[in-house]
Symmetry: C2
Subunit: 227 residues, 2 copies
């Protein structure tokens, strides 16, 4: 069988390793590589129904889970496997809750990666088995996450550039479209995100990244008793 796989992975070495794993795990797969979120978007526009997307978190152009949220938001039918160097239980659970079909830690061995890919291609879920997915399975997406998933591809690109500090003028030049159009996109993005300035937009995006790092002082009162 011929499978089309999109590999969205920043690090060239690891991308090559994934290539090898795919060649061995599948029969003559057709692999498209993407090293940025923009490239991933391009690949999904060429073929909106790949059999699988391997997605690294923390790619250039994305922040935290925003890349995953975008893909599952725009292409709900496409199975996405998250590949990440971070393998906290919280990160894994979050990825699955946001619609990923699986999670493969970068520390996995080649054999593990191969079997994971084969399983997922056949419609299974796949996660490291030392993770307990049962508890708290029913988390919801936060506000901002749902909103990001409603952005159109172009809007998502523009938002990414805004959150890199670029001016409307620069974005227009980079995308080869007029500044007037950029402004139109920007206004649309603000409406969807519920903010009123580009500064607030990048602040909203930061929230995304911090949410995973859990923690802290939710309700932990001081452990003090005293004399």
């Amino acid at each position: 069988m011929e499978n089309h796989i999109i590999v969205a992975e920043d690090h060239p070495l690891f991308r090559a390793a994934l290539q090898t794993a795919l060649q061995q795990a599948l029969n003559t797969p057709e692999v498209t590589e993407a090293d940025t979120i923009a490239a991933l978007q391009g690949a999904l526009e060429s073929d909106a129904n790949p059999d699988l997307v391997l997605l690294d978190l923390n790619m250039p152009g994305a922040h935290g889970f925003s890349g995953l949220l975008y893909v599952v938001g725009q292409h709900p039918k496409v199975p996405v496997v998250v590949i990440s160097a971070q393998d906290d239980e919280a990160v894994i659970r979050k990825a699955i809750n946001y619609g990923a079909s699986g999670f493969i830690p970068k520390s996995s061995s080649m054999d593990v990666i191969k079997s994971a890919i084969q399983g997922i291609i056949n419609g299974e879920k796949w996660i490291p088995d030392n993770v307990d997915m049962s508890k708290e399975a029913g988390q919801e997406k936060s506000e901002i996450e749902e909103k990001i998933a409603t952005l159109t591809p172009q809007q998502f690109r523009v938002l990414g550039m805004i959150s890199e500090g670029m001016l409307n003028k620069q974005i227009a030049w980079e995308l080869n479209i007029s500044e007037a159009t950029i402004k139109a996109h920007v206004t649309a993005i603000f409406r969807k995100l519920g903010v009123r300035s580009r500064t607030q937009a990048v602040i909203a995006l930061q929230q995304l990244e911090l949410e995973g790092s859990d923690n802290s002082q939710n309700n932990q009162q001081p452990p003090i008793s005293n004399s």
Copy 2:
């Protein structure tokens, strides 16, 4: 002896607990409380030479280590003890490298806190003893961190408000000064940070928070099999 201590801590319960610890650890200390970075700044302007500052990370008005950086930048002689719910080794080492005189995890018992305070008042350093500070002791501050330390108190306040998405006009109203003055501050801040827009300024600030969470692929186990 009369000691003047500033307690900068957001959570009221914990602030009260620290009060108790201070009363017991020291002889009739004079304690000033601050629940925001702005309040801490005010306290430091009233008395620029307190004997000790207890500083919680993640206070309203600060982001990550920016509060610590500001205090040590503007008041290098004042000993600062960081108090935090996060007690990762990386966070602790970072705090010390940025000029903190000690680190007290929020999970510490009352006795530990008392002895820590007593030690630091006497000029010692104090860190949890399960942390190995020897390795990599000579880290340097990153670009952005050094820059933040050069901000004036007012500039620091303004930067904090910018990174909360406020307009110049709103900031002016909040600080009871004219918008023109805010703009002057903003321009000065940008120069010091090396950025050209408020958006880039908040992006620069995010870098600060992410730097600690590094660690990436230190996992070499291939511990997986599958679903």
